[in-house]
């Protein structure tokens, strides 16, 4: 019995000694990022009265700092947290960021949307399937898995704006970069950068921030929440195959068009994997 007990103690001591990784500073990595042209879509479900959502905004800023133009962020204001608190424009949280597409995907007020009940902040990284909803702490990991992969498609957007009738239009070329037989869908969105409005932030003593810089805010889905199918999986596409689509959309009265951005992305209709994304300012 005694021998058995000694063996047990040795096993316990061994267990204690091997199961901890105590780290010392510096904690940050000094990675060199090799980019091969694939852009990554970040759909950030957010809301102006969501006090934890600025943490997700900071994560996106960090991703942009690390990956630059490879990140295509979209802030989708939805759920209860997007509801204006008042219609009085002198009071906090009066602005209505909501959109039809945002309501459909994330839900409006207490009604759930396509993605069911969402606990903000939450997002989708380069995949539109519901099971890929991720908390912002894991977005960097998801991005890192894809950051150096090659794009199967390239997207070119030619934007235009007609001030007379406030019409935003674009011509989009989707070019095959790696041959495949996917069923392909194209989604086109309009975003607006730098909407200076109220935002709740739990990390601050004064939690209600006036004039918060709301970046890449979804304004409209040009061709619906999930876009349109542009190629069936019965059609193989080879390198340099090109599909061209044209769209137009009337700008909202309160939009600052100079701050507007057109986002286009293509995804595998069956797996919901986003294969390539692109964004361009309307005035570029």
């Amino acid at each position: 019995m005694k021998t058995k007990n000694y063996i047990l103690l040795i096993i316990v001591a061994l267990f204690f000694s091997i199961s901890c990784d105590k780290l010392e500073e510096p904690y940050a990595k000094d990675n060199i990022f090799i980019w091969n042209g694939r852009k990554m879509l970040v759909l950030d479900f957010t809301g102006h009265t969501c006090g934890n959502c600025p943490r997700a905004h900071e994560t996106i800023d960090l991703l942009i700092e690390e990956y630059g133009e490879a990140i295509v962020p979209v802030a989708i204001h939805s759920t209860w947290y997007a509801k204006p608190s008042t219609t009085d424009t002198t009071l906090p949280f009066n602005y209505d960021f909501r959109t039809d597409v945002g309501d459909y995907l994330g839900g409006r007020d207490l009604e759930t949307g396509f993605y069911g009940e969402l606990f903000l902040p939450v997002g989708l990284i380069n995949n539109l399937a519901v099971e890929n909803l991720k908390v912002h702490g894991s977005w960097a990991t998801e991005i890192a898995l894809l950051a150096s992969t090659y794009p199967e498609y390239l997207i070119n957007i030619e934007p235009a704006y007609n001030e007379t009738d406030s019409l935003i239009s674009c011509e989009i070329d989707v070019t095959t970069n790696i041959g495949n037989s996917r069923k392909l869908a194209l989604t086109v969105l309009i975003l607006e950068d730098h909407i200076m409005q109220w935002q709740k932030d739990y990390s601050l003593e004064n939690q209600d921030i006036e004039g918060y810089d709301h970046k890449h805010v979804l304004r409209a889905g040009v061709n619906g929440a999930f876009g349109e199918i542009i190629k069936d999986n019965t059609d193989a596409s080879v390198i340099d195959d090109q599909i061209t689509k044209s769209y137009s959309y009337k700008a909202g009265e309160d939009w600052i068009v100079n701050n507007c951005i057109i986002v286009a992305f293509v995804y595998d209709y069956d797996t919901k994997e986003v294969l390539q994304a692109e964004m361009i300012h309307i005035n570029e």
């Binding site: 199961s19 990784d21 500073e25 940050a28 993605y115 606990f119 908390v135 990991t141 709740k200």
Partner: protein, 551 residues
């Protein structure tokens, strides 16, 4: 009555449980079943929505077989689809299957469990695997557990496995050991002593592959805890301290500060008097087997709650939610029974319960002059051991007086004063903290054997949130049946157009191990918490059917 039949449970070559029954040969089968069915009706007045399916159903059943030193079992679960309010982001919880299956045997001093199991080390500061169906929480382990009794009163437990995450398992591995020495059982001459003493210790390590592009993260995170229990006659002191090494995660914003926690509970009881004193201090102790998990997913530990779980409806509007990132709390509870045949005690005695609890944030300061508080990729903050911050999270003062007046009449009166830090505890914005005063009067009159009528009158008075509420309930119990009607009225809402009634009718049938209840009514939007763990409860209107059975 418990049926005794024979059943053989075996693992087929595919690893799937199968079962078939035989005539009695000494084995025993037990089980239970529960199904909750809800039909949803849209009701814009209270913000209740209907669902595409019209009806949602949560159901589960446990089956266990035991014979001699061997036992085994499994659990069916079906969420078709999940009731609203249960964790189900993106429909992840919807489905039908047998997610829990286990087998266990003992051989001399060794007990071995394979498959799914639940376990707790000490008070759960570093390891607690459990399920709570009312919350939709189930972090069952899948792996094996070994418990070895070294000597009388001395045991060592080892666990290893992955944690259940809805219909799958989390990516992390959890390994742990726990040992305890009960000195009164170990040393014979102390076995009859009034002084009882035990020591315990545990260590848990999780393995989750480092995969962050910006930060070096620990693949292995270890946590250890030591505990002591002292008892002398009616006094019992239980204390546990836990320490966790750097564990940057989504919960703590990727900071590297180690975590620690201290729990002390003291009880004293003698005839007619009981006293409970407790305190808890928690600093950065969120511990999950997936560093990116959120909500109630994949928690390895569970900080015991320091606040009271109110069972009456109105004080339960504002329940406390544990804050694993940092909290200090203290509680005191005194029960006193005024003796029978005294002036205040009357013929049957009178019971008085006084309860007080208070919870604050801990005190944090930046690690240096150039690093912001809680900055990711740093230690995050510094704090002194057992520091108490200025921000109050919760306070509860409750007095309850219960009295049996005669053989037929019983009353219970309560007064509750609550402070509720709405933004921290509810995670929602745009709300003032709530100061609420609540009164409850509960009367039961026994008409004859098996027949009783009970009434409840509750009032909640506050200037914040939704203002004042009143609740009236009447319940008739007759043999095997009960009938309940109550109305919960938000009569004092600051907006006169938002003063709905939440009327409920229910009746039920109870016979042996079977219970069936049918309810029609409305439910207020809010949260419910068990043990400091919470889930949202959406507003609803509709018909609910609950069936449960045990054998």
């Amino acid at each position: 009555m418990r049926k005794v039949i024979t059943l053989i449970l075996g693992l087929t070559s595919l690893g799937v449980f199968s079962l078939y029954s035989q005539q009695n040969n000494g084995g025993q089968v037990s089980g239970n079943f529960q199904s909750d069915v809800q039909y949803y009706i849209e009701d814009p007045e209270i913000g209740a929505v209907a669902v595409d399916e019209f009806v949602l159903v949560n159901s589960w059943a446990n089956f266990a077989y035991s014979q001699g030193n061997f036992s085994a079992g499994f659990r069916y679960e079906g969420y078709m689809n999940s009731l609203m309010g249960y964790p189900n982001q993106g429909g992840i919880n919807d489905g039908i299957g047998i997610p829990v299956k286990w087998a266990m045997f003992t051989n001399d001093n060794l007990e071995i469990t394979v498959g799914n199991y639940y376990e707790q080390f000490g008070n759960g500061l570093i390891f607690r695997s459990y399920e709570e169906k009312t919350l939709g929480v189930d972090n069952a382990m899948m792996g094996f557990r070994v418990k070895y009794t070294i000597a009388p009163g001395v045991y060592l437990k080892g666990v290893i496995g992955k944690q259940r995450q809805y219909w799958d398992y989390g990516p992390g591995l959890v390994r742990g050991i726990d040992g305890e020495i009960q000195f009164n059982d170990l040393i014979k001459k102390f076995s009859e002593s009034n002084f009882r003493f035990s020591l315990g210790g545990s260590f848990v390590s999780k393995y989750h592959q480092e995969d962050h592009p910006f930060y070096f993260l620990p693949n292995n995170v270890g946590a250890s805890a030591g505990r002591i229990n002292l008892a002398y006659k009616g006094i019992n002191i239980n204390s546990e301290y836990a320490y966790k090494i750097n564990d940057p995660s989504a919960d703590n914003g990727n900071i590297y500060k180690p975590g620690q926690a201290l729990l002390i509970n003291t009880t004293y009881s003698t005839k007619g008097l009981g006293i409970v004193l407790g305190t808890k201090w928690v600093d950065n102790m969120s511990f999950r087997s997936d560093r990116n998990a959120s909500l109630t997913d994949l928690n390895i530990n569970l900080m015991p709650e320091i606040s009271k779980n109110h069972t009456y409806t109105l004080p339960a509007f504002y329940p406390y939610a544990s804050q694993p990132n940092g909290e200090w709390g203290a509680k005191a509870n005194v029960f006193y029974k005024i003796p029978k045949k005294s002036l205040l005690g009357g013929k049957y005695g009178t019971t008085i319960s006084l309860y007080y609890s208070r919870v604050h944030d801990i005190d944090r300061s930046p690690v240096n002059d150039t690093t912001p508080l809680m900055a990711a990729g740093t230690l995050g903050y510094q704090t002194n051991f057992f520091s108490i911050g200025d921000e109050m999270f919760y306070q509860d003062m409750t007095i309850e007086i219960s009295k049996k007046w005669n053989k037929k009449f019983y009353t219970s009166m309560s007064y509750v004063k609550l402070f509720y830090n709405y933004e921290v505890l509810r995670g929602q914005t745009g709300h003032e903290n709530v100061d609420a005063n609540i009164g409850i009067f509960d009367m039961t009159y026994k008409i004859k054997r098996g027949v009783a009528i009970r009434t409840e009158f509750q009032g909640l008075f506050t200037q914040q949130d939704e203002g004042n509420w009143g609740l009236g309930l009447i319940e008739l119990t007759i043999p095997r049946w009960f009938f309940t009607v109550f109305d919960n009225w938000n009569y004092g809402n600051l907006d006169p157009d938002e003063r709905p009634h939440y009327l409920n009718f229910s009746f039920g049938f109870v016979n042996g191990g079977n219970r069936i209840q049918l309810t029609y009514g409305k439910q207020r939007e809010g949260v419910m918490c068990v043990g400091g763990v919470c889930r949202n409860v959406p507003a609803s209107n509709g018909i609910a059917l609950s069936i449960s059975s045990t054998f």
